[in-house]
Amino acid sequence: MTLATDTIELPRRDSRRVRIRKYCRRHPTVPFGLGVLGVMIIISILGPYFTVDPLALSPFKRLKPPSGEFLFGTDMYGREVFARTLAGGRISLAVGISVALVSTVVGLAIGIVSGYVRALDAVVMRVMDGLMAIPGVLLAIALISLTSASISNVIIAITIPEVPRVVRLVRAVVLSIREQPYIQAAVSVGMPLPRILWKHVLPNTLAPLIVQATYICASAVIVEAILSFLGAGTPPEIPSWGNIMAEGRTYFQITPWIILFPGLFLAITVLAVNVLGDGLRDSLDPRIARRMR
């Protein structure tokens, strides 16, 4: 930052477009990841309007291999794998994105409070340590088995183990920021706390949070698949990538297409999200980024 703007001629600021292009050239993984993810989201949202009903059984057409008529083949109940894979994308992506959003929002709130209110900090952090000590997949399985299987329960069950990590990250940022001179200056001129949080703390946590959220999204998609595989995930009549693979796993030697296509879609999506996260992280301050892992 240059202070004496009136005496020194500023280098001409690049236009927005040029800056984006430069950023993309330096971090090519970001546009790649975004692009693939975008395509997946569009396919998942629009796809089901153009395919047959992914739930429609037709037992007389069961286990047909991929062909012109059935693009990805059919499963053991004669449902089309193509239609199911696209519909499954909706569920898997919805779970991934919701978990990422909910856990960052909840984690952000708890983290800021905990970083600012000393009295609560100790208690909150002990609870978070305790939650982190319970292996996430186990906690999620237990939560789902104890309640009933539904998409919202799956989202909650995957979110709960992710929250403590976000809380820790946010709290660390808050703790380091609150000692900064400009924050103390703001406090001393009587700026109200909510305003300080909004104006100074939130923007500082945003960048690492976005990176963290992408990783959470990627892991949530995988965890959903794992939970469904174990029979403790999304209700089976709703096709998610995990569910389709879970149902098709019995047949992986006879009719590999049932798990091949959703598996491929899942791997590509998660890969794209991870690559996106890596790119975003690299383009941020590496020291902040490291704190998250």
Binding site: G130, I134, S145, R290
Partner: protein, 313 residues
Amino acid sequence: MYAYIAKRTLAVIPVMLVVALVVFLLLHLTPGDPAAVIAGDYARPEDIVRIRKQLGLDEPLYIQFSTWLWSVLRGDLGVSIFSNMPVSKLIGQRLEPTLALSVSTILFSVLIAVPMGVWAAWRSGTWVDRSIMVFAVLGFSVPVFVIGYVLIYVFSLKFGWFPVQGYKAIGDGFLPFLRSIALPTIALGVVYVALIARISRASMLEVLNEDYIRTARAKGQVERKVMMRHALKNAAVPIITIIGIGIALLIGGVVVTESVFNIPGLGRLTIDAVLRRDYPIIQGVILVFSAAYVIVNLLIDISYSFLDPRIRY
């Protein structure tokens, strides 16, 4: 240093208390009456009332919690609803396969991943680095059960090198044991390898930029010596930390791997218990896994003070 160790050890107590509380509340705040489940298909209402009394389910929650905690502390994890066997015995029966699989996975992953990470850092920016990093991201993106099935298909069915399923105890001979856990270890290890390789590379890269490395190189020290003695030693702390944190990931993977390879370990026990709503087992297994996680991380924390004398709290 001893003061630090003592302090760190004491800090485990509140964490485990929270774990216990969460595990306890999990069962008592969710819908569904454990007594009705225990009573089974043909229960009469009076049976359910009797069982509720027997289990102390009619007492206030805090009393139930303290009685439960007290019995857990004495090693009594309750009795399985379905098989009527003590949970601690069921867990004991299944400890070996899970332990063996976890240890072999950690060994395998560290032996593969650390050299990979070091190599990638050393050749940073080259195709070696790129391909190792691509592998690392891929390893994160494929669910463990898919890897497991592919391994079974190729190495057990096509080549016939390894058994398809099951577990052979170490007591039955070391080679059969190794054969039985080879594929599960690899399947489970992929994520872990990816994780450790990434961290190893990152922390090596950082260390390699430090002044003392430049000094060492300037002094004309052999590259191998620079990498091993200076760089890796200083990069060790974050690598070991991630191994500890990764245990949580590993435990999740164990559950899946055991069901793919039909290994009678704690993971299979968990899934069976979950499918049957065998609450005492679910509670016991989560407690045991969490305790293992906490203890491993405690040991890791303590080991820092030996590894890096700068760390003193």
